[in-house]
């Protein structure tokens, strides 16, 4: 698949909360394992600082955001870059449905955190498929 057709996945990567790490891991599960041929990521901080190439990419491609806390930095910053996210995901929503999964820490999300990331990544991948179908 050409770069023109890719879906962009942007996690918040919040460093102060374990859910930020889960969101980051979920994004990599999608971009490296589940849908490597049709997804990519963009540095959130670069986007937010107004980098023209990053802004162009999120405006041009469908973008999915993954947030680790209610501040929703990924979504907010994509919107501030002038794009409307095609879908938004929150780690907390996965936790609400799987309260047995206790994430260990920011630096080591543990097995439960990895499982949570994988559940979230599966949902994101399904949304990627949906977006791809719509574009055909």
């Amino acid at each position: 698949m050409s770069g023109e057709d890719r879906v962009i996945i942007i996690p918040c990567s919040g460093i102060g909360k374990a859910f930020g790490s889960v969101g980051r891991e979920a994004a990599y599960v999608v971009t490296e394992e589940l849908r490597p041929d049709c997804t990519e990521t963009v540095c959130l901080s670069l986007l937010t600082l107004g980098d023209e190439d990053a802004r162009r990419r999120v405006r041009k491609h469908p973008t999915i955001t993954i947030d680790g806390c209610p501040a929703a930095c990924a979504r907010v910053n994509v919107e501030q870059a002038g794009a409307a996210p095609a879908a938004t995901f929150r780690v907390f929503d996965v936790f609400r449905q799987h309260k047995e999964l206790r994430v260990r820490s920011v630096s080591d999300i543990g097995k439960a955190g990895e499982e949570m990331a994988r559940i979230l990544a599966t949902d994101v991948a399904a949304k990627v498929d949906e977006l791809q179908k719509e574009r055909r």
Partner: protein, 255 residues
Amino acid sequence: MSCRKKGGESVPQLPERKVGLIACSGEDLPEGTVSRRAALLVLERLRPSATVTLCLPLFLAGEERERAFARFYPTIAIDGCEKRCAARATEMYSARPAVSLVVSDLADSLRLARPRRLRGSDAAGEALARAVADEVARQVDGLLAGRRETAAVRQSDPTGVETEAAEAVCTCVSGIPAASVVVGDQTVELLALPAIFALFREEGKSPDNSATADELMQQIKLYNAVAAEDENALREAVADEYARFWAQTAPAIGQ
């Protein structure tokens, strides 16, 4: 400096100053992952009691508390690449970081292999993260040592050397706004109080709301050491002072 009683007896100790670490955490390059890993190594293992982290996306999204910290305390920006998003953001929204490190530059200068993985760490990424973390820890020690030396000069030399020393050793704490409140028969100076009041005023936090005093104290304690036995009296004094500030600023802000 931050919470002392003038004309009174012994004063509360200064809080131990901390250094803020801001990692770019760039998702789209392996060095971004290294910046994040290095910051976490310092925060959790190397200097846990001397450092805090500031969440860069939150910082950029306009979180005043994060920005306020970086205005008042020294920060170390850890960037993955020469675009220096963390350093630029810190300077743009708060103050110039005391130290700015770039992972790719460090890798070159230390002749360490560049990482290849975005996700997690490969051997090269882990080695580089540890090297970066060591350098960050060294810089943290230097910043905190500089601050202690400055404080010593201030206490021992009343002839004017203190100003030069403070600026030369560490300019990052000069100009921190402070204000005084009267507690009983003593005046207590509180670091960052004007900024905290202004922030609360902007957020429309009324002094009539009983939760406001508690929230004020939470903020004040971020920047000032408050002894447990002094807290209730200080809360009352701060609440009174905030009520006066609220009344004075009401016409200008239109509330």
